[in-house]
Symmetry: C2
Subunit: 321 residues, 2 copies
């Protein structure tokens, strides 16, 4: 009986290429596909079902790098990613990888060995040198070479946050958040959008940031409140930070929004039940999850795709006037 | 060169059994192990590295059934489970399976085919007939045959919730939560513990429950507040419900804890940042995650283990006197 080795030999390709054609996984050029199919027909090759099951299973697994499941935005995104993968017949390996590059590298190595068919990466590790443009990888909020990414319009979101604060009467504005020395993330565009809008408007502003990850967010926010008592409008880099600032302000008897307006970024559902009616720039998290999977499957099938930037909108809560 | 087929034939076992011995995955009796090892030695069998890599990879994957990643307790538990699995060399497939039994069945079928080596199940689906006691499965908060489970001391937690409410001066108590007609979950023991403590004490109480899943929790809680105006102490089945009740009470100008004391169940970290200082029965989520993985690995290696029930403690917040 003909083996996959015979097929590969007759088609003049490697065994792994023949395997990709047989299992319809990974990228193979059209001409190679035809050559392999011809060899299969000539030899009457029937794949070993057990072996094929293994390979098929392997090719239908996607790994998701998640920085922290404690952050509700990421949990929610992970939920929609898993749901969309499932609808496309893929299973999802979850890799919580905050500050653990070795963990991510082990999945990248699995990708190289064809044991997972793709990676969706929400990663703050320095993995640039380990991945390259031809791999089926899609990133969230991060740019590496021509690897496609999905993000929300962070820059535009920063601009409208400024506009809302200004239009509702705040005169002393601040952006609070974190910055990274190593990795350029989309999140920093929130700050850039805010700054550019302020500059265009000719308004002064405070930038209050600390290097990511902020070790003690409570202390960081308390210092802000004591140092910048005249600030009456804040745009915080995410909802979790905005919510904590809101709570700390209440503790210190600072009236929100009368004395201090606060806008966050994310706009996620989990906080709705808490009735913490935070004003926020809402990212379309479900749409983002589904578009990540769509891009990844295209990459797995060998297509090239460009980044997708999703529009955001301001959702008024109780923390702005 | 000898193949695994030859090994299996000489040992008088099936190929899958020989494979389990070679790859040290799944349960094999000691006597069979010795027979297979003898055959390997006699034949000088060297496993095919590629095939072994596939099988090994497959055997080092555990599936986690998660009912809802929106519920912070489950997200946090998933985080610790993945961390503990990783430390033991396992990867984790995440299956969000609320109300989707087909999805869970596909993983159970993978387990039967040895494509995943075990399942940690937080499941509310009726999977009783599909799993049996010999499978490497560990459940959370649920009893099926002799399949081991991990839970916190839900019954004891219900008892101390009653005790705290009573000792802080509440005279009219209620338990609010959900019940299931199909699946007996550990969560219902919270109610049982509360009821038994009240009966022992001779105090009347209200049980206000709706069938799981509660479709509109906000409406459910609003009805409670309007129907039971004299209740001044509530034990809610989880923190999310307790928090929403707290927020709705504030909206209706009911003073918490003076006019209404509230105790939740879970005690998870994600809400700490929100400074919603809820009084709660705290489950040791990290310890529970690690003990789930410990039990599962023992099951994967063929040991039999008994359930583990972790103690809980009352953590005072601002919602009790």
């Amino acid at each position: 009986m003909a083996t996959i080795k015979d097929v590969a030999k007759l088609a003049g390709v490697g065994i792994s290429t023949a395997s990709r054609v047989i299992n319809k996984s990974g990228y193979v050029s059209e001409s190679t596909k035809i050559k392999v199919q011809d060899a299969i027909n000539k030899l009457g090759y029937v794949p070993n079902e057990t072996a094929r099951a293994f390979v098929t299973q392997n090719s239908k697994i996607v790994a998701l790098f998640l920085p922290s499941i404690h952050h509700a935005f990421f949990s929610e995104l992970a939920y929609y990613i898993e749901d969309a993968l499932d609808k496309n017949g893929y299973k999802m390996l979850l890799c919580n990888s905050t500050g653990n590059i070795q963990k991510e590298l082990s999945y990248i190595s699995m990708l190289k060995q064809n044991k997972v068919s793709g990676i969706i990466g929400i990663s703050y590790n320095e993995i640039e040198s380990e991945i390259h443009n031809s791999m089926p990888i899609v990133l969230v909020d991060r740019h590496i070479g021509t690897i496609p990414y999905v993000s929300s319009d962070n820059y535009g979101g920063g601009k409208i946050a400024f506009q809302v604060l200004k239009d509702t009467g705040c005169q002393h504005l601040a952006y609070i958040g974190s910055y990274s020395n190593s990795v350029l993330t989309e999140v920093e565009k929130r700050q850039k959008g805010f700054e550019d809008a302020a500059k265009e408007d000719g308004m002064d502003y405070i930038i209050y940031t600390e290097q990511d990850p902020i070790e003690d967010q409570t202390a960081f926010l308390k210092r802000f409140l004591s140092q910048y008592k005249n600030v009456n409008g804040v745009f915080a880099e995410n909802d979790l930070m905005a919510l904590e600032l809101f709570e700390l302000a209440k503790e210190q008897n600072i009236k929100v929004p009368e004395e201090l307006s606060i806008i966050g970024y994310d706009g996620i559902k989990v906080y709705e039940v808490l009735k913490s009616k935070l004003s926020s720039i809402r990212q379309p998290v479900e749409v983002m999850g589904r578009s990540l999977v769509e891009l990844l499957i295209k990459r797995v099938n060998g297509s090239y795709v460009t980044p997708v930037i999703h529009p955001v909108e301001f959702v008024k809560g109780e923390t702005t006037r």
